[in-house]
């Protein structure tokens, strides 16, 4: 299983490397480590969403592991919890 550790700051500059990293690992189950993330921007969100779709197409597991609080909070803010968070983080409870 491939793994990617997300950097702290997922802003505009991080979007292209993130895409490249995902594209490179396509075809196998992937685990995204989101424990260090402190900022998540709209562009990286798009990359993650596109990645999630691609893995789904391939019938492979795309999982996000140990998301940081900031990551969870931002994903919810974006309304993307359904796509990018596992069930335990999807609820609205804090």
């Amino acid at each position: 299983m491939a793994a990617i550790a997300l950097p702290e700051n997922l802003d505009l500059k991080a979007a292209a490397p993130l895409k490249a990293a995902l594209v490179e690992r396509r075809g196998a189950a992937i685990e995204i480590e989101a424990d260090k993330v402190r900022r998540l921007g709209g562009l990286c969100l798009q990359v993650l969403l596109a990645g999630r779709k691609a893995w789904e197409q391939d019938g492979q597991v795309f999982s996000i592991k140990g998301p940081s609080e900031a990551f969870v909070e931002t994903i919810r803010l974006f309304g993307a919890e359904g796509a990018l968070l596992s069930a335990e983080f999807q609820g609205a409870e804090s």
């Binding site: 969100l45 909070e73 993307a80 359904g82």
Partner: protein, 756 residues
């Protein structure tokens, strides 16, 4: 818990502003302004007070505010018609709300019976059909709320137990209160559709920040649309594909929402609509989401999830589980939550305005320093002048610039302290209502010039005199409705409170259209109280002025309202202490007008520096109309000592300042000196004779009362450029003094007679 106390103080400060907004809005509604904007503003004020109060567990306040708010919400929603009668009820409710706020602050008590009765009345307005519901409750509640308070409270409970659990629970925590709010109150729901362009990200802006900002306005639920997202391989990582539709629940208006997007203007397509978004939109959103990845589905119900009375209630099929997310950041530990919560409702007073609260002492210090700077600059200029430096030299020009800068600094500093008199005026409508109720009179307050600006120090001390004069106007001035009808007047009396700038001073007028001063009675009372001798001949104006004598009270019986015998003399003294004057004009059957004239600021003055009998005096420039050298043929003697000056077809009394102030025994001939034509507050003119004019200068006022004592004819003192102290002439007082001496032998200050 110092921090909490500090927040509480802020809350009460905000409360005062909110109550003022509330009252202003309600008054506008009473005048017939029934537009949604006004109603919304009123609703917001009550809502914010309730929100803050909930945070501090101020239960009675929250409870009352909730009932109040519910009715306002119904008005806003159109289910209760917005009428003038309703506005009157709401105004009375706002008074009780203000009492609750004061009580919560530890100042005064709330009449709980009145509060309960008002709450019941509000409920009655909210839902006239509430009576049957109440009747079904165990307590045999009576439809109309004029019952004894306990029954009313039972009624209250029965009516609300389906939606208001939290209010009755002591120790309410904010988060709960807010969450309950979100469910109970169908607040403003907006749908904001955000379509970021790639430029938005390229300019280092961020959708997440926008959403976060929106979240500050109220709970949001974002629904993401990624249908335009290309497959991973062909995705341009720096282009924008995803769009959002955000449901925002906020009491702010559209402008506030728009403001969130201020910095991304043009880089983001924005659509803001009220409500849950149209059915079409909601369906479209559903469809797009359904087409896209199934994973996004859980978010789908959001667009159609609806608070009960929203316009598209038919589609409210979403399960109750689809609650809006709580506004608090999920990560925030519970302990921190109350503080954060509290701050949110109060920290957003109005869109686009940021206000700094500064300790007034700092400003006072600044003003003092600037005053010193002005004096210093004047001294410097004078020294340089003494060295005979040419006006065109660099030094002189530099000094000129310095003078201008100093002046600008001074103006700006003064502007910081200048405040509209509104802060005082806005307390008055309530006073008028209460006094009118107490005295059984019908009174309407008309206010004018609320935005007239005056120095803060003056404003602070305006409140008492105005309160007193208004009470007097209603209690003594206005007749009872029957008397008014009999006199052919509108049974509702009008009391007018106006502020305006006139000749560099602020003038406050309190007038009524009542019966005017009963001079015979005033005279006989003054005689009875031994204030004047019965054989004294007084002019109408002098009789009117008798009411300013200490210990004078015209009320037949001492009422709660006014007439404790500490009336107008106190007003007069407090006005004089401010360097102001008060005068009366009264016409029988038509009403009276009290005019209060005060200096705009107690700090600086533009004046003409003149020389009188070897003394340097400053005459306020605002009073001077013109200065001239009289020709012998223009001076005409009048009476044994007086003389008048002919100025363009009219005669103006000539006043030798030196003689009036006691600098000399014998006046020189007016043609030897310079004449300053001045205009008094009442518009009367006089010609002041001085020996020479030194020039025009801005002077810093140093209070004579504070440092020495009040001197008649002198308004204050100042320090001149050369370090000498000069007196500032009180023009009106000088004219009055002259009139007294040169005119009829009787003094206008009857107090003197009383002393004899």
């Amino acid at each position: 818990m110092d921090e909490l106390e500090a927040i509480k103080v802020t809350f009460f400060q905000e409360c005062e502003e909110l109550l003022a907004d509330l009252e202003g809005g309600l008054l506008a509604m009473q005048e017939g302004a029934g537009d949604l904007e006004t109603v919304n503003a009123v609703f917001r004020a009550v809502h914010s007070i309730k929100g803050g109060a909930g945070a501090f567990g101020l239960e009675p306040l929250v409870r009352f505010a909730h009932v109040f708010e519910t009715l306002l919400d119904a008005v806003r929603g159109g289910s209760v018609p917005n009428t003038v009668e309703l506005a009157a009820v709401l105004l009375r409710a706002s008074d009780i709300l203000a009492d609750h706020v004061s009580a919560a602050r530890g100042l005064g008590d709330v009449d709980m019976a009145a509060s309960a009765a008002m709450a019941a009345e509000l409920e009655q307005w909210t839902d006239p059909n509430a009576a049957p519901a109440a009747a079904s409750a165990p307590a045999p509640a009576v439809p109309v709320a004029e019952d004894v308070p306990p029954a009313v409270v039972a009624d209250d409970d029965a009516l609300e137990d389906d939606d208001l659990g939290f209010v009755f629970v002591p120790q309410t925590i904010t988060v709960e209160a807010q969450a309950a709010d979100a469910e109970l109150i169908p607040s403003n729901v907006w749908t904001v559709s955000i379509r970021p362009k790639s430029d938005l990200y390229r300019k280092a802006n961020e959708t997440a920040l926008l959403l976060r900002e929106l979240n500050r306005l109220g709970p949001i639920k974002a629904t993401l649309d990624d249908s335009a997202l290309p497959p991973l391989e062909s995705l341009d990582p720096e282009a924008a594909y995803v769009t959002w539709s955000v449901r925002v629940e906020t009491d702010e208006d559209e402008a506030a929402i728009r403001e969130v997007f201020e910095f991304v203007d043009g880089d983001c397509e924005l659509e803001i609509s009220r409500g849950e978004g149209s059915v079409d939109q909601a369906m479209a959103a559903l469809l797009t989401v359904a087409e896209s990845a199934p994973a996004v589905e859980p978010a789908a119900p959001a667009p159609v999830e609806i608070a009960p009375p929203a316009p598209v209630a038919e589609v409210a099929v979403a399960p109750p589980a689809a609650e809006p997310p709580k506004p608090a950041a999920p990560a925030a530990p519970p302990a921190a939550a109350p503080a954060a919560q509290k701050a949110t409702p109060v920290e957003v007073p109005g869109p686009g305005q940021s206000v700094i609260r500064v300790d007034p002492e700092r400003i006072d210090r600044l003003i003092d320093l600037v005053g010193e700077l002005v004096i210093n600059q004047a001294m410097l200029a004078q020294r340089v002048g003494e060295y005979g430096i040419a006006p065109s030299s660099n030094l002189a020009m530099g000094l000129d610039e310095l003078e201008q800068l100093t002046r600008e600094i001074q103006d700006s500093v003064m502007a910081i302290r200048a405040q509209p008199v509104k802060s005082v005026f806005q307390r008055m409508p309530r006073l008028v209502r209460e006094v009118a109720n107490m005295t059984g009179k019908q009174a309407r307050l008309v206010m004018d010039g609320e935005n007239t600006e005056v120095d803060k120090t003056v404003i602070e001390r305006l409140s008492d005199p105005i309160t007193h004069m208004l009470r007097n106007a209603i209690d003594h001035g206005l007749e009872s409705p029957e008397e008014r009808k009999a006199a052919g007047k509108n049974p509702e009396g009008v009391v007018r409170l106006a502020a305006l700038h006139r000749s560099g001073r602020i003038v406050i007028e309190v007038s009524d259209d009542g019966k005017g001063i009963n001079r015979e009675r005033v005279f006989s009372i003054a005689v009875k109280k031994g204030l004047i001798t019965p054989d004294l001949q007084l002019s109408d104006e002098e009789i009117d002025n008798l009411i300013f004598l200490p210990g004078f009270s015209t009320a037949d019986k001492i009422s709660d309202v006014s007439g404790r015998g500490v009336g107008m003399d106190v007003v007069k003294r407090s006005v004089q202490a401010l360097g102001g004057r008060i005068s009366i004009a009264s016409r029988p059957g038509q009403g009276s007008t009290f005019t209060l004239s005060l200096p705009l600021t107690l700090a600086v003055l533009d004046g003409m520096v003149v020389d009188v009998a070897g003394e340097t005096l400053v005459v306020p420039l605002a009073a001077i109309v013109e200065s001239l050298r009289p020709k012998p043929e223009e001076v005409r003697p009048l009476g044994p000592v007086g003389s008048v000056l002919a100025v363009r077809d009219s005669f103006v009394p000539l006043i030798d300042v030196g003689l009036t102030l006691g600098y000399r025994e014998q006046s020189p001939h007016p043609t030897d000196g310079v004449v300053l034509l001045v205009e008094g507050e009442d518009g009367s003119r006089a010609a002041l004779v001085a020996d020479a004019i030194h020039g025009q200068r801005q002077v810093v006022i140093k209070s004579l009362e504070q440092n020495y004592q009040q001197v008649e004819g002198v308004a204050a003192a100042t320090i001149l450029g050369d370090g000498r102290v000069a007196l500032i002439l009180d023009v009106d007082a000088t004219i009055a003094m002259r009139r007294r001496e040169g005119g009829a032998p009787r003094p206008t200050e009857p107090a003197l007679i009383a002393a004899e």
